[in-house]
Symmetry: C2
Subunit: 212 residues, 2 copies
């Protein structure tokens, strides 16, 4: 079930379509969904309005396709992460947080997740967008669920592994919000370190207090 096939749009991978998806990810993360007009997207993608509505029936459909695209790109990028090679499932979870920590850019305006930004705005108006965003978040969490289950079971903890996996995504999303509010990524970094410390405490892993 490839993400591409989830889209109800034209199956082609015409250049204009790809450019629009890329532009959508960039602009919506930066300016929000309502704050990004179709004209803005076209200009950023170097494409005309005709091309836009040739490939996407509406702005909402573009959003759904962008969410799907984002999801599959993120999944592919995640699947080849080095920490997956670690033996202990708890180490893999800690490695995941480090992995996300590494990818936090200094640019606060880019410091957000497309899915989180989209869903907050589109929740009321478009159930399809909401579904696509949640699917993406769940897929990211799904990649951690098995490790959570294994690590929890090994320590006899009766915590729902799915909720723990989803919690990591919640902290990530919250960190992005706080970073935008603060105008700095530092609080986001700190929050991920708290998340890491939580996992370390939960799984009896040593915690070296590395400042910053």
């Amino acid at each position: 079930m490839a993400a591409e096939s989830l889209s109800a749009e034209s199956p082609s991978s015409a250049p204009a379509r790809q450019k629009l998806l890329g532009a959508a990810i960039t602009l919506i993360r930066k300016n929000g969904y309502a704050g990004t007009s179709v004209d803005d997207l076209c200009k950023a993608a170097g494409v005309t309005k005709g091309a836009f509505f040739h490939h996407f029936a509406s702005k909402d459909r573009l959003a759904v396709a962008a969410a799907d695209h984002f999801t599959s790109v993120a999944a592919a990028w995640f699947e080849q992460a080095p920490f997956l090679a670690l033996e202990d499932p708890a180490d893999r979870l800690l490695g995941y947080v480090d992995f996300r920590l590494d990818r936090l850019t200094d640019d606060v305006s880019t410091c957000s997740c497309l899915l989180g930004a989209l869903v907050q705005e589109a929740y009321e108006t478009s159930p399809e967008i909401r579904r696509a965003c949640f699917a993406g978040i769940q897929r990211q969490a799904g990649g951690l669920e098995a490790d959570c289950a294994e690590a929890l079971a090994a320590r006899g903890l009766s915590i729902d592994p799915r909720s723990l996996a989803l919690h990591t995504q919640a902290v990530l999303q919250g960190a992005f919000v706080i970073a935008k509010a603060a105008g700095s990524i530092q609080p986001a970094v700190d929050s991920l370190l708290h998340l890491k410390r939580y996992l370390a405490l939960l799984f009896d892993k040593p915690w070296e207090e590395t400042p910053q």
Copy 2:
């Protein structure tokens, strides 16, 4: 420094003004900032456009005033919470999470923080809104900072109390995002329980595994 005086708007507390602030909090939480038009706000408040622009120079200024209003209302509501009477600062922190847990409604569309929803949309376009939102979040976190400092010091932990206080807000914000994405408050409840467990582990507090 009352929140009211922070606003650069008319100092009056005319009924129309209060109604608009209330409507803004409700509608923006539900539909987002861009998704809430001035006409929508006027209709919800039972007020005309003339009244709107009599009290607020622009839609952005209304947003700033609404953020300030929300902040002071939340602060007042927080200051008389029962958990503040607890002796142990760590218990007060756990009590705060329970307090927030209690206030999670079943209505997902209302399940969000005005400040978090606003700042994501207005970050690029309005620095004033961003500042007002961060001020509110910081004020909420500020109410926990002393307890964090005390509880951490009592256990010899060299963790920045401010970052821990802000982390609680990050988890809250993230929980709201995930709840909206999932279309259910359950993940938000779960995330707050994870936060509570983190604090319990950190402060060596007993943790009773209460399902749901």
